[in-house]
Amino acid sequence: MLNLFKNKKWLIFLILVSFFAILLLNPLLGRTQNTPIKVGILHSLTGTMAISEKPVVEATLMAIEEINQQGGVLGRRIEPIVVDGASNWDTFAELAEKLIVEDQVLTVFGCWTSASRKTVKPVFEKYDHLLIYPVQYEGLEISPNIFYTGAAPNQQILPAVKWAFNNLGKRFFLVGSDYIFPHVANTIVREQLSALDAEILGEEYLGLGTTQVQEVIEKILETQPDVVINTINGDTNIAFFNELKKANITAESIPVISLSIGENELQSFDPSIVEGHYAAWNYFQSIESLENEKFIHNFRKKYGEYRMMSDPMEAAYVGVYLWKQAVQKTPNFDIELLRENLKDQSFSAPHGPVYVDHQTQHLWKTVRVGKIDQNSQFKIVWSSGKPVRPIPYPMYRSETDWQKLLQQYQLQWRGQWSNPRTE
């Protein structure tokens, strides 16, 4: 038998067969492209928002890396282009335009503050592009060009307030940073609390990044509310809780429910200052699920054993995967088709199942309330059990009325989305 293979005729025959087989099979195998798919990552890497936004960038990049390791999307690598909005909303808008026009990215993952999002929204609508926004916010917005993977008001604010009303008391104090989210959130809270027949003892706003919180603390001490609803964003929170501690206000006496403090922000706190207070999120690191275990494990493997996970990080991570699933059904990479395909996606997220709501382009998310323990982790005290449908426009007002409210703020603030204080 072996003698035959020395025969030249045999060799030629085999070569010819293989050649034709390969020739025929090639179109069937499908060619793989080598050009990567570019996406933009638009967050603040510097400035007051960096402390919150940098981990979100890391989570986004991790999701992209995981997908690339599994072979990419439609056989192509994803190439992230990371830019620094520097906590400046105009910079955000400029960079968004650059990413869309110059870098020609397929999608942008980004923004944290509503101000930044509102500033870039016109850019995305102008170019009919796609932004995936991972942070909980005040709602009152539906854009065909934005998908919101963070909580809508009814998925964080309303349940938190209701739970506080049921469990902490009926006398509320509202404090927040001076930009659109806290203002709108407090408007919603006010509507809700009046429906519940609860009391609002105060509503205060602090400039973004400020540490001059003494006035607010004094007011809280004066009014002695049952619960404080906190919508401060950024490192002002550090000053706020420090001052609370200094003023001998404990979580037992006046518990604070924060809507913008997660495990990440807790890292900057002395645990004793925040222990016993509350936060409301869809995702807590302490959630026990297979998906969450894997999520935490992978993140710590990549970024460090002592890193903490937070809701916006998870929302960013989930956003990338939902996007990937949609891209897989969009082989021509047409953004309009991509958005259509994104509307029908669901994913087994670390915090539970998420589902993209067609009408609002928000996610169905499970709601939870957590209590800060001595390890700067949250003990879950309440859960909605199953994902809640997103309602970006709370039912207290009509959509039109809500829009009017937004416009009022813009006017007040000279076209800005945050209060242009000079302090």
Binding site: L4, L24, L28, K162, A195, F347, P353, Y355, S384, R389
Partner: protein
């Protein structure tokens, strides 16, 4: 697709191919290669087509399943959303608000007004239920107490308000509605009263933006199941599973096609080592793939998450049914390929045979030709190269045949001639044999004659006793004839004090030479006896005598002859012969040439002008040697002549010895020189020593 290539390569049977290569007949070789070259590409092409079309079909089926899943999910979502909306709308109706407030004030319905209102409400609901297919309406206050229960309307006028049973779906859905202040759907549960699976939808009832109670509607699963169990596009084995998460398991909420009792009965754990499609679906994953279902059959399935129910849906169809088309296609491929293969095989046989046949025929003819049947002609069956070959062969074979034929004829003729010649040769041979006999007889006679002549020759030679009587001289002689008598002559005659010595050599060999020598001896003796002293006369008479005799016997022979005459120390020499060697007593050698002293005897009739004389004085101890050319021309085995010099040397060396001794020495030396060489001429030697 890579798998397919491997499968294809296994189709090729290596053994068969080996056979193809190693075949020894052209027919089988052709057939083998034909089959190989047609069937292998056919197999490859049809396999590739089959696999690619199978893949296309599978993709098609998957897409179909995904589409069905999506549309069913949409239908269910729509149904639930619409139902929710209906409940919300109902919750906004003033009737509801009023009923709640009314019953709150008067829980036990003591007042008539209240009872009236309740009755009216019941009627209203009955109408409503007819259209909306609801099974129950419950009104609750904010504390969770049941204000109104339609199915319990007989007992609506009870003592006190009942609280919602804890751990019931009603309680759960009430809490959610109250906390989240929005319409809510419960899990499915089995209602024992209604004996059907059903679910609840709860909506908060608001007055002036305040929650005053919760409206709960109970709906059975009829419409739900109908939507789920619509088998359009799912063939005969396709079905839909809808499962909802409970605390510890996933439970199906509607009957399945294959298991009508599955609703609320069939459970799967929430998680397992590898997540089943249903487990994946309830966790939010959208996907598709092959799965082994609860009937242990392999199915193709697509699954997705149902947000309204917080559950999952799996749409599946038996792989066997789905891929029936593929199986059919594969079968038809196989049939097609087999048919084609058979046709190809048959055609190939025919073609191979038709190509091989002329070659085989030609080969057979050539073989027979090679075996010797030279008149074989090959049939010309085709017009191609084989035909040309056959033609050429035929030409060649007929030429060869002709050549052979003519060769045979020639051969025959030759044989005849040879036979003839042989006969002639036989005759000639016989003649020769006869002649040979004659010759042998002749020879015998001749040799006997020669023998006689030799004897005569010997008899004529002087005897020893005669020679010893000569006082003055020591004279010895020696003659050894050759095998053929040479005709050498020497004689020594003594008369008184005179001694006559003669030496001569007759030309040629044989009887004639011997006879001539005898004649010469007699003639010389006669002349000496007649005391002829005139030398010239002597020779003249001798010559004439011999010459005339020679003429008479018709011989060509003649002889050299030298005569020596000794008297008292003086030796006269005449006649032409060899040189005479004279060795003085002191050892010096002289050679006397006799060429001018005479003429050969018997050659010419008149030799008087040639005769001359030479005189030698001998002292005591002087030696004279006479010889014939038989000595000087005797050859060694190396064909070297003895030579006169050697003769002189030997004589000189032995000059102090007696004549006899000198003779012996010379003869010994000569014999030594000759060795084994043939002696062609008579050896004659006369040694004379003066005493």
């Amino acid at each position: 697709m890579v798998k397919s290539t491997n499968r294809i390569k296994k189709f090729i049977h290596w053994d068969k191919l080996r056979l193809v290569i190693a075949q020894k007949t052209i027919y089988k070789k052709l057939l083998g290669w034909f089959l190989l070259l047609t069937l292998v590409p056919l197999l490859i092409a049809s396999s590739l087509t089959f696999f690619s079309s199978k893949d296309a079909l599978v993709r098609e089926i998957n897409n179909n399943l995904i589409t069905i899943t999506r549309s069913k999910a949409e239908q269910l979502e729509t149904y639930i959303n619409n139902t929710k909306l209906n409940v919300v709308m109902l919750s906004h109706m003033p009737t509801i608000t009023e009923m709640i407030k009314l019953i709150e004030e008067d829980p036990t319905a003591t007042s008539n007004e209240v009872r009236q209102e309740i009755l009216k409400f019941n009627l209203f609901l009955t109408e409503y239920f007819k259209n909306a297919q609801y099974r129950n309406v419950v009104l609750l206050n904010t504390q969770g107490q049941i204000l109104f229960d339609y199915t319990d309307r007989q007992n609506s006028f009870r003592q006190s308000l009942q609280t919602v049973p804890p751990d019931s779906e009603l309680k759960l859905v009430f809490e959610q509605a109250k906390t989240l202040q929005e319409v809510n759907i419960s899990n499915f549960f089995y209602d024992r009263r209604l004996r059907t699976p059903s679910f609840l939808i709860a909506a908060p009832v608001l007055e002036r933006k305040r929650v005053i109670g919760v409206l709960v509607i109970q709906i059975d699963d009829t419409v739900f199941s109908q939507t789920v169990n619509n088998y359009t596009g799912l063939g005969l084995t396709g079905e839909t599973l809808v499962g909802i998460k409970t605390e510890d398991s996933i439970v199906l909420v509607s009957p399945t096609r294959h298991n009508p009792n599955a609703a609320l009965e069939y459970r799967e754990p929430l998680v397992s080592e590898s997540l089943s499609p249903l487990q994946q679906a309830v966790r939010g994953t959208i996907s598709y793939g092959r799965m082994r279902d609860y009937r242990d059959r392999i199915t193709l399935a697509a699954w997705r998450y149902l947000p309204s129910l917080d559950g999952g849906m799996v749409v599946k169809i038996d792989e066997a049914e789905a891929l029936k088309a593929v199986v059919t296609q594969r079968n038809s491929f196989i049939v097609l390929v087999t048919l084609t293969a058979i046709i190809v095989a048959i055609l190939s046989r025919y073609i191979a045979r038709s190509i091989a046949y002329p070659i085989i025929q030609l080969s057979k003819v050539v073989q027979r030709f090679a075996q010797g049947y030279l008149s074989e002609q090959a049939p010309i069956l085709t017009q191609d190269e084989i035909g040309f070959l056959a033609e050429s062969f035929n030409q060649m074979s007929s030429q060869l045949n002709q050549t052979f034929q003519s060769l045979e004829t020639i051969n025959h003729a030759l044989e005849e001639r040879v036979a003839q010649r042989t006969v002639e040769l036989e005759k000639a041979h016989q003649k020769i044999l006869n002649l040979n006999e004659q010759l042998t007889a002749e020879n015998l006679r001749m040799s006997s004659e020669l023998e006689i002549t030799r004897q005569l020759q010997r008899m004529i030679l002087p005897k020893e006793s005669e020679l010893t009587r000569i006082d003055a001289l020591e004279i010895v002689g020696f003659m050894e004839p050759a095998s053929e008598i040479g005709g050498d002559y020497y004689d020594i005659l003594s008369y008184g004090d005179r001694v006559f010595i003669g030496i001569g050599d007759v030309t040629g060999h044989g009887l004639e030479s011997g006879v001539l020598m005898i004649m010469v001896q007699t003639a010389v003796r006669t002349l000496i006896a007649s005391e002829e002293t005139n030398l010239i006369k002597f020779f003249e008479v001798l010559n004439r005598t011999i010459y005339d005799n020679v003429r008479r016997i018709n011989s060509e022979k003649h002889l050299t002859l030298a005569l020596l005459n000794y008297q008292e120390g003086t030796l006269t020499l005449s006649g032409q012969h060899e040189e005479v060697i004279l060795v003085r007593a002191n050892g010096s050698v002289e050679r006397i040439d006799t060429i001018d002293l005479g003429f050969p005897i018997g050659l010419d009739d008149n030799i008087v002008d040639f005769i001359a004389q030479s005189t030698i004085h001998l002292e005591s101890g002087d030696i004279v040697v006479l010889y014939t050319d038989g000595i000087t021309e005797a050859e060694s085995p190396e064909n070297v002549q003895y030579g006169i010099d050697q003769l002189c040397r030997v004589v000189q060396k032995n000059s102090h010895r007696t004549a006899q001794q000198i003779r012996e020495a010379v003869i010994d030396d000569l014999k030594h020189h000759i060795g084994v060489q043939t002696i062609y001429d008579d050896i004659t030697l006369v040694v004379i020593k003066q005493r």
